[in-house]
C-alpha cells in the first residue's frame, strides 16, 4: 500500500463506516482523502472482490457526471481497483451541518435554495445521491457548496428514487436543524423547483408524503 501510493504521509483515520474507511493524508504537499473499501470476511473472495471493484469504479464515475451536471465534487486523483481505494481532493471548508444553524435567516435561506438547485441538477441528469445529509455538503471559503460521499449514489430517473433522496434530506434537516427545519426544507424545494420545474417538484412532494405515510421512515427517536 505504501509503495503503491508513493508520497503519502500522515495516515490519519477520520471516519470508519460499515463499508469504507477514510484517511486524511498528505500527498506531495497536498491534503488528500484516501477512501478504502473494506473487505468483508463473510463474502466469498470472488464475490467480495467483484463488489469492491464495481463500487470503486462506480463512485468516481458518478462524481464525474455530477461535475458535468454542474455540481461541484472533489477532484479524483487516483483510483486503485486492486486496493479498492480512491484518492481524492480534501475539500477545505466547513460541513453545512456546522454552519447552517448560525447563519442569519436570509443567508440560511439562500444557502438552502442553492443546495436545492444542486440536488435538482443531479436529479435532472439522472443522478440520485443516496445520502443527502448536511454532513455530506461542504461550504468552501469561497461560498461554493461541494457534495461529497457518492458511495450510495445511483443512476436513475425514477420518481421513487428521487423522492427517497429528498425525503432523506428532509429527515436529516429535521433531526439536525430542527429550529429551522420547515423554513430550510421549503427553501431547498424552492431551489429544486427552479431546476426541475413546478410539475416535477409537485410530483416529488407528493411522493415524499407517500413515503412518509408508509411509516417506514418515521423518525427513529
Amino acid at each position: 500500500m505504501r509503495l503503491r501510493f508513493r508520497g503519502l504521509k500522515t495516515n490519519m483515520l477520520i471516519k470508519k463506516g460499515a463499508e469504507a474507511s477514510l484517511y486524511l493524508e498528505d500527498w506531495h504537499g497536498q491534503k488528500v482523502i484516501l477512501k478504502k473499501r473494506l473487505s468483508k470476511k463473510y463474502r466469498v473472495p470472488e464475490l467480495d472482490k467483484g463488489i469492491q471493484n464495481q463500487r470503486t469504479r462506480h463512485e468516481p464515475q458518478i462524481m464525474h457526471r455530477a461535475k458535468k451536471a454542474g455540481v461541484p465534487t472533489p477532484i479524483v486523483f487516483l483510483v486503485d481497483l486492486e486496493e479498492a481505494t480512491i484518492i481524492m481532493e480534501f475539500v477545505e471548508g466547513k460541513q453545512v451541518k456546522h454552519v447552517l444553524n448560525d447563519l442569519p435567516q436570509n443567508e440560511r435561506r439562500k444557502l438552502c435554495r442553492h443546495i436545492g438547485e444542486l440536488v435538482g441538477k443531479l436529479h435532472s441528469n439522472g443522478i440520485v445521491h443516496g445520502d443527502l445529509t448536511t454532513s455530506n455538503m461542504i461550504l468552501t471559503p469561497l461560498g461554493e457548496v461541494v457534495f461529497i460521499d457518492f458511495g450510495l449514489s445511483e443512476q436513475t430517473w425514477e420518481l421513487e428514487a428521487r423522492g427517497v433522496d429528498l425525503h432523506l434530506m428532509k429527515r436529516a434537516i429535521a433531526s439536525t436543524h430542527f429550529m429551522h427545519a420547515e423554513e430550510c426544507f421549503e427553501a431547498v424545494m424552492a431551489g429544486y423547483e427552479r431546476i426541475m420545474g413546478k410539475k416535477v417538484t409537485n410530483e416529488i412532494l407528493e411522493k415524499i408524503a407517500e413515503i412518509e405515510r408508509r411509516g417506514r421512515y418515521i423518525s427513529e427517536r
Binding site: G17, A18, E19, K40, K41, Y42, R43, V44, E46, L47, G50, I51, G130, L152, E154, V164, R214, G215, R216, I218, E220, R221
Partner: protein, 340 residues
C-alpha cells in the same frame, strides 16, 4: 394475572399451526400441518381448503399435547396479517369460533411481530437488529420508540420465495418434508466455482428478482454444474442480506443481531451473519429450528404480550389485514432504555 394460557392459530400461508403458551412464556404445544401443492407454488384457495379440513384435528392435537383442557385457556390469538386472504380467513374463523364459544378475549397478532417475539423468547436476544427472512417476507428491523422500525426490506420478492421458485425451476423435488431452501443449501455445499450474478442492494433495501432471472438463465444454458449455480445463487443472496444487516447494525448502534423466519434454518446464512457480527463485537442469535418457520407458538406468545397491554379485538371487528406492515404495530411491551 400470573396463571393462564393462550392458544394461538397461525395461518398466513401454507402452514396451519396451533400453539399453546403460558402467560410466563412456556411453550406447551406447537403443532403444525403444512399444505403441500401437487405442483407449482401455493394456491391460496387450495391452501385455505387444506387448513379448513385439518383445523379441528390440529387444535385437538395441540390441546392433547399441552395436557390442558379447553376451559383452562384464557386468551385466543390468531395471525391477523399480513398474508394470503383465504388462508388468513380460515385461521381467523377458527379463532373467532373458539373465542365466542369459550367467551374469551380475542387477539389479532401481526405475523411479523410474532416472528421477532418468538426469537426474543427462545434466545438471549433482548434489543436486536432483526433479520426476518421467509417465503413471504424479507425485513431488517429494530426497535425504536414503541415500534419495530423497518430499516430495510425487499423491493420485490422475498428471499425465501426466490429460493422456492429457483428450486422448482431447477426441477428439484423436496422430499421428506424438506424445505426447498434446504435442497439449495445441500447442493451449494458441493459447489466450488463462483459465477457472478446480480447483487442488488439499494441503501438498506434489497432486490431479488434480477438474481432469480439470472439464475434461471444459468439453469437453461446448462453450461455450469447445478452445484455451482446453487452455490453462487446462495452466496449472492445471503451476502446481500448480511450487508444490509451490517448497515442497520452500524446505523442503529445496537449490539445484537437476531435471525428469524423460515430461511433462518440455513446454516450458511447463520455463519455469514456470525462472522459479520463478530467483526462488530455484537452478539448473534438464531431462532431454534422448530420456531423458525411459521408456527402457532409465536402467535400464542405474541397474543400473551398483547393481552397484557389490553390489546384485544372484538370478534365483529376482527377482519384480516392482508398488507399489515410490521411498522404499523405499536409494541408497548418492549422495554428499551434507548426509547423515549
Amino acid at each position: 394475572m400470573t396463571k393462564g394460557y393462550c392458544l394461538g392459530i397461525e395461518s398466513t400461508a401454507d402452514d396451519f399451526g396451533v400453539g399453546i403458551v403460558s402467560i410466563k412464556g412456556e411453550v406447551l404445544a406447537n403443532i403444525n400441518d403444512t399444505y403441500i401443492p401437487e405442483k407449482g407454488g401455493i394456491h391460496p384457495r387450495e391452501a385455505a381448503r387444506h387448513h379448513a379440513n385439518i383445523a379441528g384435528k390440529v387444535i385437538a392435537e395441540a390441546l392433547k399435547k399441552s395436557k390442558i383442557s379447553l376451559n383452562e385457556l384464557s386468551i385466543i390469538a390468531f395471525s391477523q396479517g399480513p398474508g394470503l386472504g383465504p388462508c388468513l380467513r380460515t385461521g381467523a374463523t377458527a379463532a373467532r369460533a373458539l373465542a365466542s364459544y369459550l367467551s374469551l378475549p380475542l387477539v389479532g397478532v401481526n405475523h411479523c411481530v410474532a416472528h421477532i417475539e418468538i426469537g426474543k423468547l427462545t434466545t438471549s436476544a433482548r434489543d436486536p437488529v432483526t433479520l426476518y427472512v421467509s417465503g413471504g417476507n424479507t425485513i431488517i428491523s429494530a426497535y425504536e420508540a414503541n415500534r419495530y422500525r423497518v430499516f430495510g426490506e425487499t423491493l420485490d420478492i422475498a428471499v425465501g420465495n426466490c429460493l422456492d421458485v429457483f428450486v422448482r425451476e431447477a426441477g428439484l423435488k423436496p422430499e421428506g418434508g424438506k424445505a426447498p431452501g434446504q435442497i439449495v443449501e445441500e447442493l451449494a455445499a458441493k459447489g466450488k466455482m463462483f459465477i457472478q450474478l446480480p447483487y442488488i442492494v439499494k441503501g438498506m433495501d434489497l432486490s431479488f428478482s434480477g438474481l432469480l432471472t439470472a439464475a434461471f438463465n444459468l439453469l437453461r444454458e446448462k453450461k455450469f454444474r447445478l452445484e455451482d449455480v446453487c452455490f453462487s445463487f446462495q452466496e449472492t443472496a445471503f451476502s446481500m442480506l448480511t450487508e444490509v444487516t451490517e448497515r442497520a447494525l452500524a446505523h442503529t448502534e445496537k449490539n445484537e443481531v437476531l435471525l428469524t423466519g423460515g430461511v433462518a434454518a440455513n446454516k450458511r446464512l447463520q455463519s455469514m451473519l456470525k462472522t459479520m457480527t463478530e467483526e462488530h463485537d455484537a452478539k448473534f442469535s438464531t431462532v431454534p429450528r422448530e420456531f423458525s418457520a411459521d408456527n402457532g407458538a409465536m402467535i400464542a406468545w405474541t397474543g400473551v404480550l398483547c393481552y397484557k397491554y389490553s390489546i384485544t379485538v372484538p370478534v365483529e371487528k376482527s377482519f384480516v389485514k392482508l398488507k399489515w406492515r410490521l411498522d404499523e404495530v405499536e409494541v408497548p411491551w418492549v422495554e428499551n432504555k434507548h426509547a423515549d
